[in-house]
Symmetry: C2
Subunit: 338 residues, 2 copies
DNA sequence: TTGTAGGCGTTATCAA
DNA sequence: TTGATAACGCCTACAA
């Protein structure tokens, strides 16, 4: 029997004042109403004594605001989104908002349902790393402030905060040629709706500007077959000056695991690098050189952007200049594998 | 300007029926009210057309249920809680509930505030891995169904689902003596309120039953000083047949990193093991032998237990037999470091 | 300095 | 087979 929380009415009854008085005192809204210090003290005391806690449901119904922000990411177990959420949460909490975290598992239908549910529960804004192009349409239609992170929603004038993936690829490519690698294989996860992957590839190609450099791209499914793994190993051992680049933390992890299980020596037999950093990359031996994202900055920018939109929609000034497209610079972390 | 969703009233207006009719049709609550197929179809069509979405706030105010479940963990970035949440979420979603995820950062005050906030927003139940002994008191007082996971709330008759930590320690200890190790150091994080750590130690001691076996325990703060790290290295190199056991994934990671940076060879110079598994443990070379938890099962049991309590409190049958204490068995994963 | 009344969206109870 | 009404807890324009 969930003990029903005391309402504003009960506090008022016990303090011998009208509920509205309680509301104003507890919310410190004294613009047009000033109360005697005695009353204020009494009301606060009673509220404390009764353990009064405002009902968000009531408040939301009245004000239309939930003070909740939705976050939809494709995968909550990846280090990147993990950290992102952690930073976002810290920032968000400080402003009184709370996070409603959702995980689409890279599944378009699940994403749709999740968003629909969020809209139903009520959110004041949404931060999304979309795994589907269309799922956010309903959020836009509902007029809820929206920011995409990591993966942009191409052609949808939604503000975006993410990595400069071209630059990330270039950085890696340039380092590769500096180290004398010529044959490079980029390994990508099978995510046709993730526009960051072709961009990273494109950057990689742009960075690999030297006589006879070759870039090959291959997709590695989540449950890779021996055939697919062999393809990578064959590439790695076929020629000298060969390097493999994982385009995401997951692919980097799995490729590294594969190369090692085949007894290949890194970086002697083959070079190895990755885009996105993760703890294991520095623990393994040889440690893996990676391109890291400024995750905290990403989270901060995304929330600042969202907050601005929320405040604007409140003022109904609707200066929908929502063409913010923020690209942050990556950082190369040199370790031992390249 | 967040477009206000159509309400049940607007659907009713357009479909020429009373709001309550809409409500019952959309909720399929036809026990005492049967409507003509024509009306039903029309209402559903209009709802669809208008893009009607029920307002959780209104519903909550009326029913007292939020269909939200709080999850409070000390650290969202640890692999263990990560996976736990992932599994929990999948299970919870299927029953119509949603997760409100909170991260206390091992901070008692933050935990208090979080819980207070959750109570204010309204949750139908709470799954908590407490980092403080008292913070859950307010949840109990509020009469909200509660289950602790991982870390039990000692002496508080709150249902618990967690690992059999004694058994986990024993398993590790037994393997240690089988492999001929005699001098063992257990490395723990500085978490005085985590009762699983002493239990893991206790089990370890119980497992180390052999002539001349020695168990030493040391705490490793989050930002370890050189002195603390040297202490570990000195222990590792002082005598033969020495092994180090990380009591959590974090300590295991850091100790391994430290041993390696000091050029120690594992397992030749020193053995290394850990309680709790994590991806990096199998990627490093030598791979780390660990005790793994049945995380998915943990999440399932915890939710089943919570759901039962929620349904019971609803029926107000209040058979508060809440003395469930569920301990799951660990699994030893032999790799190369021991 | 305090009170009053209305309504946010929903559903349960009662009536027709 | 359908409708009317009240109430959940809160906030706020308006009145005293």
């Amino acid at each position: 029997m969930a003990i029903s929380n005391p309402s504003i009415a009960e506090v008022g009854r016990k303090a011998k004042v009208h509920p509205s008085t309680v509301s104003r005192i507890l919310n410190k809204s004294f613009e047009s109403h000033r109360y005697s210090a005695k009353t204020v003290a009494r009301v606060i005391a009673v509220a404390q004594e009764l353990g009064y806690r405002p009902s968000q449901a009531g408040r939301t119904l009245r004000t239309g605001k939930t003070m909740q922000i939705g976050v939809l990411v494709p995968d909550i177990t990846s280090v990147f989104f993990n950290q992102f959420i952690k930073h976002l949460e810290k920032k968000v909490w400080a402003t009184g908002y709370r996070l409603l975290i959702c995980c689409s598992n890279e599944n378009a239908q699940q994403e749709q349902e999740y968003l629909s549910d969020l809209l139903s529960r009520g959110i004041d804004g949404l931060v999304v790393a979309p795994s589907d192009t269309q799922s956010c349409q309903q959020v836009i239609t509902a007029g809820i402030p929206l920011v995409s992170v990591d993966r942009p929603l191409l052609g949808m004038t939604v503000p975006h905060v993410g990595l400069d993936n071209i630059e990330a690829g270039q950085m890696m490519g340039q380092h590769l040629i500096e180290m004398g690698y010529k044959h490079v294989m980029a390994v990508a996860p099978c995510l046709p709706n993730d526009p960051t992957l072709p961009q990273r590839c494109k950057g990689l190609a742009q960075g690999l500007v030297t006589e006879g450099a070759v870039l090959k791209t291959v997709e590695l499914p989540s449950e890779a077959t021996d055939e697919q793994l062999n393809k990578i190993v064959n590439f790695a051992t076929a020629k000298p000056h060969t390097a493999i680049v994982g385009l995401t933390e997951d692919t980097t992890f799995r490729v590294y695991e594969c190369l090692r299980s085949h007894g290949l020596s890194i970086p002697d037999d083959v070079g190895m690098g990755g885009i996105d950093d993760f703890p294991a990359a520095r623990l393994v031996c040889p440690a893996i050189s990676v391109i890291a994202q400024p995750i905290e900055q990403l989270a901060h920018k995304a929330f600042e952007c969202l907050l601005e939109m929320i405040n604007e929609t409140e003022k109904a000034s609707s200066t929908i200049e929502s063409s913010i497209y923020c690209q942050l610079s990556p950082e190369f972390i040199r370790r031992e594998s390249l």
